[in-house]
């Protein structure tokens, strides 16, 4: 497979640009509350100039803001590489917006309920014009507390949108009980242990809490809490699985990956997509780790939606941080470990068909 990785080259040909426009990708299935949130962004007196790209054709201006329609157009590259798949409509619209006088403070991209977030995110790394002028700020996924369990059962796209998210807005929390919310959050965590979950009603949230979050900035990878992946039994967010060592008493066999016949508020269960957490208390050999990670992404990149990690490299005072979207990998030495900071390595991989034991063995074999 011939894959293009142009980032390093971009850096050499474009003058460093500090004022790249942040782009928030807003995903969520139909009815999750995206339109409510967008209407708030457009009507609130925020004093900023936003452009919103929606999935209908046409263009309207609302006060300072601009709404642009675009038909979803997924472009596969002729090298067949999955990680090079981009959204042609976004390249076209973002490039057009860059021609406008005055620019924008931020751009929000609404995807359809059935959109795959992968090509949307990849566009910001793979297309030179888009990468030169904008930066992906976050993939923000809205889910609706009342219907999300059903959607996650029914829809591969719904699971992918949650798994891909940098932050999750759990909306319509007023329509369900606290106990139901706990079950929903547990399942969301199982799918995506990296994204913070914010509870909202009627998509009400301060815009500065969702826009301009710098979620793809390596400098902002400050902490990864592997215990989020599967909190201890009895705690919030615990997901029952075969390692629990007790009988769940469900009275039926799990046939994972298929439609279940229990309702939205059924038990917590494992989805086809899940987050796998790895950690190690010994320093890691930098070269061995890079080799392992490159090989892993080359072989399983299409199945790995997101990954992030903070690694303690033997003989290095700085933390190695990395993140990946499918096969697109960024990594760098970040700040020094603090004098009282616990030095340890941890990484989270979110994807489908991931073999936890195999990942764990490969990761631990990188120990220095």
């Amino acid at each position: 497979m011939d894959c293009l990785f142009p980032f390093a080259w971009f850096a050499t040909i474009y003058p460093p640009m500090t004022d790249k426009i942040p782009v928030t990708v807003l995903t969520g299935y139909l009815g999750a509350g995206k339109t409510t949130l967008l209407n708030r962004i457009l009507t609130e007196d925020h004093g900023k100039k936003y452009a919103v790209i929606v999935n209908e054709f046409g263009e309207i201006g609302i006060d300072n803001d601009l709404v642009v329609g675009a038909d979803e157009e997924v472009f596969e590259m002729n090298n067949g590489c999955v990680c090079c798949t981009v959204r042609g409509d976004l390249i076209r619209v973002l490039s057009g917006l860059m021609k406008r006088k005055g620019g924008f403070d931020a751009i929000i991209v609404e995807t359809t309920g059935l959109a795959d977030p992968g090509p949307v995110a990849q566009t910001f790394f793979m297309d030179e014009d888009v990468a030169a002028r904008t930066r992906l700020d976050s993939v923000t996924t809205l889910v609706d507390a009342k219907h999300v369990m059903q959607r996650l059962d029914d829809s591969k796209e719904a699971r992918e949108q949650v798994a891909f998210a940098d932050q999750i807005l759990l909306n319509k929390t007023d329509l369900v009980s606290e106990a139901e919310l706990a079950v929903v959050e547990a399942r969301l965590r199982g799918l995506n242990p990296l994204a913070p979950i914010r509870r909202t009603e009627r998509a009400k949230i301060a815009l500065d809490q969702i826009l301009d979050q710098n979620r793809f900035d390596l400098e902002r990878i400050t902490d990864i809490r592997p215990e989020f992946v599967n909190p201890a039994h009895g705690e919030d967010g615990h997901v029952h699985d075969e390692h629990c060592g007790h009988d769940h008493g469900h009275g039926h066999d799990h046939d994972h990956g298929h439609a279940h016949d229990h309702g939205p508020r059924g038990h917590a269960h494992q989805d086809d997509i899940r987050g796998i957490s790895l950690s190690l208390d010994r320093p890691i050999d930098g070269q061995a780790f890079t080799r392992w990670l490159d090989k892993l992404l080359a072989e399983q990149g299409p199945d790995i939606l997101r990954a992030k990690g903070i690694i303690e490299i033997a003989g290095e005072d700085r933390r190695l941080v990395f993140q990946a979207v499918h096969m697109i990998l960024e990594g760098d030495l970040q700040r020094e470990w603090g004098p009282n900071e616990r030095r340890w390595s941890r990484a989270v991989f979110i994807g489908r068909n991931l073999d936890e034991a195999n990942l764990k063995a490969g990761f631990e074999a990188c120990a220095a």
Binding site: P6, W9, F57, V68, N78, I91, R92, M98, K99, A132
Partner: protein, 324 residues
Amino acid sequence: MTSRSFDAPVTAALFDASGQAAFALGDGTVRFEDGSVAEVHDGAVLSACLHPSGRGVVTGGDDGRVVWSTPDQAQELADAHGKWIDAVAGSPESGLIAFSSGKTVTVLDPADPHYRRDFVHERSVADIAFEPKGRKLACATYGGVATWFARIETQKPTFLKWAGSHTRVLYAPDGAFLLSAMQENQLHGWRLKDSKDLRMGGYPAKIRDMVFFDQGRLMATSGAHGVVVWPFVGAGGPMGKEASELGFEEGVAVVRVAAAPRGPMLAAGLADGRVWAMDVRTGPQRWIVAERGAPVTALAVREDGGRLAWGREDGEAGVADLAT
């Protein structure tokens, strides 16, 4: 050299038949060299070409309008009702104008206000080019290039297939070849008499611009550290031949190219804002704009090779004499 400082990104620079420069901008205006300003779009100019008459400029805006501007007046040619006009093209030979809005390419005849042809594609059209006689047009889209007879109302296009997204399209001046630039940093070409594919790869960056010059014997493109020049001599064109790279400089990319169609004068606009010109027969490159700045977004060489116009993303622009 005369410099101008506009307060909007420069979308396009052009020379009209009288030899005067015009700039189309991100504030929806067209600025003529004589200082006159046509305020024509509510939003940005997304695309621009010379009017087939050689007088004035045709622009497509993000307000969905297609407008013909001259220093004296502006006239709306079409309104796509809010759909962005991503590409415009004009043919002096047939007098026709074509523009794309989303998946539709529309052909207009300025001599006949009722004339209109709409050609619908499966995917959005990124660029349009008329063949040299102006009777056909090629539309770059996803999966290939569609060619249409410009005047026939109902027809099926000839679709030249090549996997991937095609972003720019250009006919060789003798009509023998059709070239397209692709999302995946490569050129693709077709020899039209037998639809033979030409694969022209090896580019490190996106190819935003291509131009034929020197009587059609050479084609220059952006997308590398220098200007990539392909030979188009003989029945095979560039087949089996190697491209040369002019003005190579490590650490910077050529993003715009322009040239005189019949002469050897070639110009390059760089990602760091500099502009050079070169008579490819005699060399060497001459710096027209030596100080660095925002990326060059517009570049034009007058038909006789005597003048050059350039514009940058930050609104800086200028016109320079190339004659020595």
